[in-house]
């Protein structure tokens, strides 16, 4: 069988200890939570850390709680107030500790009620056993994936390696100097659409990064997390009760598979049902989830009906070009962009649910 290389396994009990261990061992160290992504990658020889720092004993990284808005928050009858999407501001927020498992998030009543798109996405990751181990922190920090990268050392050697690991050629783009391995995690597109904020702890203390700014278009390292930092929590602004969200995942099987395409949408609606705000994120294109641009204007002030959904889906199609970086025909995946965006929007509009894959 594929073997894990020997490594030292550390089990700190506080964030400070974990950060200190990562700093002490530098590039030799990697953090691990559920291990559902890191361990297979280690078996494939993609990483060879001499020190693995488990975060599982750090109680501070757990918990899902609603931080109530200040008393001067929205009241029934308020005219529409646009939420800023900024960090846990005046509207209150939901805090999710980075160690919370994908299963627990998918089943949590507050998540399900307020952020159904996120709950759905967490519940569609891999299979039940993996969701019982995998955490939201790990999902947010998931390594990018590529058909030329997530392979054994033998296979990559026979290929002649690639830009992301041990080589200097990108077999997807042929010419590019930039790695286009695919962002393949299910929860981040939702966190971006919902305006979430991520908290990172490192040797220099803590800092906050907007989920929308967290990812960069570099498949080799596609996040702004420094190697010595750990993600401690995710905070999602509560928004108004009328805010809604939805997720659509394209995959060949009804379980196990990473997405071949993913779409997260989040919006708010005025009292007359018209669109007040709308965000859409499409992923599994390149290394960074794509926040759709020139989009909201197509819908603002209008009811989210079939015609508007069609326009939005078409606009998404214009912006999204899947690559041959995962096992799945890229031409078909592109054709599925408007289909998946349309279906996500139908869910958002309450027009019914069509199959996720």
């Amino acid at each position: 069988m594929l073997r894990l290389h020997p490594f030292r396994y550390h089990r700190p009990e506080t964030v400070a200890e974990a950060v200190q261990l990562l700093a002490q061992h530098g590039q030799e160290a990697m953090p691990v939570a559920g291990g559902t992504d890191l361990l297979p990658n280690m078996k494939h020889g993609l990483f060879r850390p001499g020190h693995v720092v488990s975060l599982n004993r750090i109680g501070e990284l757990r918990g899902i709680s609603t931080i109530a808005p200040p008393s001067n928050g929205h009241r029934p009858g308020d005219s529409f107030v646009r939420t800023t999407g900024a960090t846990g501001g005046t509207a209150g927020h939901l805090r999710i500790g980075a160690l919370e498992t994908l299963h627990d998030i998918s089943a949590h009543p507050d998540v399900r009620r307020r952020f159904p798109g996120l709950a759905e996405a967490a519940g569609l990751v891999a299979g039940p056993q993996l969701r019982n181990m995998g955490t939201i922190g790990g999902n947010v920090c998931l390594d990018t994936r590529c058909t030329y990268y997530n392979q054994t050392a033998f296979w990559r050697g026979a290929l002649g390696h690639c830009l992301k690991k041990d080589g200097d050629t990108c077999h997807v783009t042929k010419t590019g100097k930039k790695c286009v391995a695919a962002h393949s995690a299910d929860t981040p597109p939702n966190l971006i659409a919902l305006g979430a904020t991520l908290t990172l702890a490192g040797p220099n203390g803590r800092r906050e990064v907007e989920a929308a700014d967290f990812f960069i278009a570099d498949g080799i390292r596609n996040t702004r997390r420094a190697p010595g930092e750990i993600l401690t929590e995710v905070r999602i602004p509560l928004g108004r009760p009328s805010a809604r969200s939805a997720y659509q995942k394209l995959r060949q099987r009804k379980s196990i598979d990473f997405p071949l395409l993913s779409v997260a949408v989040a919006g708010d609606f005025a009292n007359d049902g018209s669109v007040a705000s709308l965000k859409g994120v499409v992923s599994v294109l390149g290394a960074r989830p794509r926040l759709l641009s020139d989009w909201e204007g197509l819908a603002t002030g209008k009811p989210l009906n079939a015609g508007v959904i069609r326009d939005l889906a078409h606009r998404a199609w214009q912006q999204c070009r899947p690559l041959e970086n995962v096992v799945g025909d890229a031409g078909w995946r592109r054709a599925m962009v408007p289909v998946c965006v349309g279906r996500a929007l139908e869910k958002l509009a309450g027009l019914g649910t069509r199959p996720d894959r």
Binding site: T147, W155, G157, L159, Q252, R253, D257, F258
Partner: protein, 812 residues
């Protein structure tokens, strides 16, 4: 007369055990984790081996330097091809493999050297220290290119100079006058079909352990389906006295044809064990299982099928190119099977096939469940559907009209005995609600039907000999316990259980008093292996033979005590009873003791050999000849999402004529497993390789169970098994095969259902979302130009020319 037993109820009142719904004798051990598979075996001092594999699809080995690996601490031995120079091959006429490559590698993953070390990590490290210098050679990835090659270097040296060494086998057979039949046909349908290769994906990877002892004895434990062939080949290739070689087959965690010939690891563990004097284990990684492959061949097929105005078949013409991969494996047989097994359950007055198997620089293809006949069955059953459509005949009715019948001969002279195919059609038609669904469901939903046949073993063994195909030995203890020494291979299909049921039936012994010892060449008689759906038929008959010999002794002894005739002594339910007066009885144990007192130590052997000379007289006529044929019919119901191309197979009704269901639970299990596997190949599986444009030609596209996708339980349709019992005159209690036949119709039934649902013909496998979506796009692009055929419901007409392929219909 065949009887339908929906849900597999046990109808057979003449039996005490046979036909009842029973557990497997090894079920509890497997369900509770007590079963010990090959990799569970740990021997004192055992070393771990690893095999170095070629990174090139085709190259000469210029040199191998293993000295640095040998010097690594913890490494005990390194072996290369030169230690094992004798070629082998499962078919004795095509020995084209070596345990490790001698001077040439032929696919990415071909074995080059093997090391034994104290642990796997050290063995892996040592592999990195073996220096191999290669000289790359031009490689072939398409069988058409391989066949067209005019000069070498070929993938294998031609057997005769001047020939194309890339061609494994050509078979051209014609029965009746095909051209005349086509010329006279009212309708001729012509189509090109492509069956993408698939692999077996057993959950247990291949694993073997070698142990050499002083005095020259060698033991090899292996997850194999063919311990006897492995025994022979180990002795031959390693130049050992076969009487000193022992092969043990522990419980096997799935095989499906993927473990039915010797593999490199078995020779390597033997050689490394002999070199080191210590036991050596090699366990394949999942990636290596994909390289070992021997899965279903990609088939490029062209069919012309002619019928009269009533839909009666007139002539069938097939042109097939098989993509064989780097070695012959069972390819000679596959090439014959590609044509030979198509000639039932329908009559066809004239039939011709021309099949060519080519080598390519990819992992070798071989037998997978439904060996050689699944691919042509797909094409042919779609052809039948198109004929039915052209003639406005219901496709089930068309198949009924062409039924070949029982006790007959096929056009290629195969002897058909029992045949429950009509009952299969009736069963799926009724159970599926066919008449209210076909052509009547809304757009996006549809039903399709297909039929098929398969062999219950082959009349001629892989290597020519006049000995029995299967043997069983029984031994009786004074406690009443009966041990069955079975040569057959339990690979999860129920071979061990089946012989226990037979013994229980014949000797009246409770199942819990029967022990089955199987798969150990030191202790069991020879059975040729678990392949070709031969085990129930052959081992079952052998076991009946042995049990009845023993029964005769017991009856004689008891009859003497009762002053009765032997025939008046019944053995059932743990008792010996007197016929007509069952109040007179004794325990089976007492009966055995009486028999032992009378005859001495009790035991019996039994064997079975196939009928010979019941085939045609042409060259190749023995291939495809079987003592009995099973028959199947499926109806599949699908829901196609026209926006995405996803095909949801909602249900498959599976009717299968297995002769008699010895244990309906196991028959249903085989039917469901077969239908599942066919469904998986139909909608999902793609055993494909990267191209040069994708970085490296011949590199496996996705050698993992994450990216080589097989359906999960959530994807799997509802499966309803309808057991048909035609009671074969030569099968054990009338039984025939059930393990492979019911795979065949899944694929064409789904293809035909997709057509009923959305009006496109899927002529290339798999019917994956991108392909179905593309077919629907092409159809939309083609607009309303499709020729009306009067059958398809409005707005869903079949476009002549099909899609997902280049089929076209020709009316003379």
């Amino acid at each position: 007369m065949p009887s339908v037993t929906p849900g597999g109820a046990a109808p057979a009142r003449e039996f005490s055990t046979i036909g009842r719904r029973m557990r497997k004798v090894d079920g509890l051990a497997k369900a509770t984790g007590r079963a010990r598979y090959t990799d569970d075996i740990q021997l004192p001092g055992m070393l771990h081996g690893k095999i170095l594999r070629s990174p090139h699809p085709h190259a000469r080995i210029k040199s191998i330097d293993a000295s640095a690996a040998e010097r690594l601490k913890g490494v005990h031995a390194v072996t290369t091809g030169r230690d094992m120079p004798v070629p082998y091959g499962i078919i004795p006429w095509t020995p084209d493999e070596h345990p490790l490559c001698l001077d040439r590698v032929r696919y990415v993953g071909d074995g080059v050297a093997a090391v034994a070390a104290v642990d796997e990590e050290t063995a892996n490290e040592a592999l990195g220290l073996v220096e191999v210098v290669y000289e790359e050679l031009p490689a072939y990835f398409s069988p058409h290119e391989a066949i067209a090659a005019e000069s070498g270097p070929f993938i294998h040296e031609p057997r005769r100079p001047g020939r194309n060494g890339n061609v494994t086998k050509v078979v051209r057979l014609e029965f009746g006058d095909v051209e005349a039949g086509l010329a006279e046909s009212a309708v001729v349908v012509e189509g090109d079909y492509f069956f993408e290769g698939t692999t077996h994906t057993p959950i247990e990877p291949h694993c073997a352990i070698g142990m050499a002892e002083r005095g020259g004895r060698l033991t090899v434990w292996s997850a194999t389906q063919v311990p006897h062939y492995l025994h022979r080949e180990l002795a031959r290739v390693l130049d050992l006295d076969p009487a000193l070689v022992r092969v043990v087959q522990p419980p096997v965690g799935g095989a499906f044809g993927g473990k039915s010939e010797p593999f490199d690891l078995e020779f390597c563990v033997a050689t490394l064990a002999m070199k080191t004097g210590r036991p050596v284990k090699i366990l394949y990684t999942r990636e290596e299982v994909f390289y070992a492959h021997r899965g279903r061949h990609p088939f490029h097929m062209r069919y012309r099928t002619g019928a009269d105005e009533n839909g009666m078949l007139a002539a069938v013409d097939a042109e097939i190119v098989l993509d064989g991969g780097a070695y012959a494996s069972f390819g000679l047989v596959t090439t014959y099977y590609s044509g030979q097994l198509l000639t039932a359950p329908y009559q066809m007055p004239a039939y011709r096939f021309h099949s060519t198997r080519a080598y390519t620089n990819k992992p070798a293809c071989g037998p997978k469940r439904g060996h050689g006949s699944v691919q042509p069955r797909f094409a042919f059953e779609v052809q039948l559907d198109r004929i039915a459509e052209r003639l406005a005949i219901d496709p089930i009715e068309l198949r009924r009209r062409n039924f070949i019948g029982a006790d007959t001969r096929t056009v290629n002279d195969l002897r058909i005995t029992s045949n429950g195919f009509l009952e299969c059609l009736d069963a799926v038609e009724a159970a599926s609600g066919w008449r209210r669904k076909f052509r009547k469901l809304p757009f996006g939903r549809g039903v399709g039907v297909a039929g098929s046949t398969y062999i219950s073993g082959t009349n001629y063994p892989v290597y020519p000999n006049d000995m029995p195909q299967s043997g069983v030995q029984l031994q009786v203890d004074r406690s009443g316990r009966v041990s069955v020494f079975s040569g057959a291979s339990e690979i999860g299909q129920g071979a061990d259980s089946m012989v226990a049921y037979v013994v229980a039936e014949e000797l009246g012994v409770p199942l819990e008093h029967i022990r089955v010892l199987a798969g150990d060449t030191d202790f069991t008689p020879v059975d040729l292996g678990a392949y070709s759906s031969r085990v129930t038929f052959m081992l079952g008959n052998a076991c009946i033979d042995a049990a009845r010999r023993l029964k005769q002794q017991v009856q004689e002894a008891v009859a003497e005590a009762w002053d009765a005739k032997p025939g008046e002594v019944l053995l059932a339910g743990g008792l010996a009873m007197r016929k007509g007066d069952t109040g007179v009885s004794m325990s089976v144990r007492d009966a055995f003791n009486l028999a032992e007192a009378k005859f001495g130590t009790l035991g019996a052997t039994g064997s079975y050999d196939t009928p010979k000379d019941v085939h045609g007289s042409y060259r190749g006529a023995t291939i495809g000849a079987s003592p009995a044929y099973s028959f199947s019919a499926h109806v599949a119901e699908v829901r196609v999402d026209p926006e995405t191309g996803f095909v949801d197979v909602e249900k498959i009704w599976i009717a299968h004529d297995c002769g008699r269901a010895l244990n309906p639970v196991l028959v249903e299990g085989q039917m469901e497993g077969s239908a599942y596997m066919g469904f998986a190949e139909a909608v999902m599986e793609e055993h494909v390789f990267k191209t040069a444009e994708q970085g490296r030609a011949g590199l496996h596209n996705a050698p993992s169970l994450l990216d080589y996708r097989i359906p999960t339980s959530l994807d799997t349709p509802a499966l309803e098994s309808l057991v048909i019992e035609s009671v074969d005159p030569e099968g054990p209690y009338g039984a025939k095969e059930a393990g492979e036949g019911p795979l065949h119709p899944s694929i064409p039934a789904i293809a035909n259902a997709i057509h009923d649902a959305v009006g496109v013909r899927m002529n290339s496998l798999p019917f994956s979302p991108p392909r179905v979506w593309a077919a629907l796009q092409n159809r939309t692009a083609a607009g309303a130009e499709g020729a009306g055929d009067g059958v398809a419901k409005a707005g869903r007409r079949e476009r002549e020319g099909g899609s997902g392929g280049v089929a076209k219909a020709v009316t003379p």
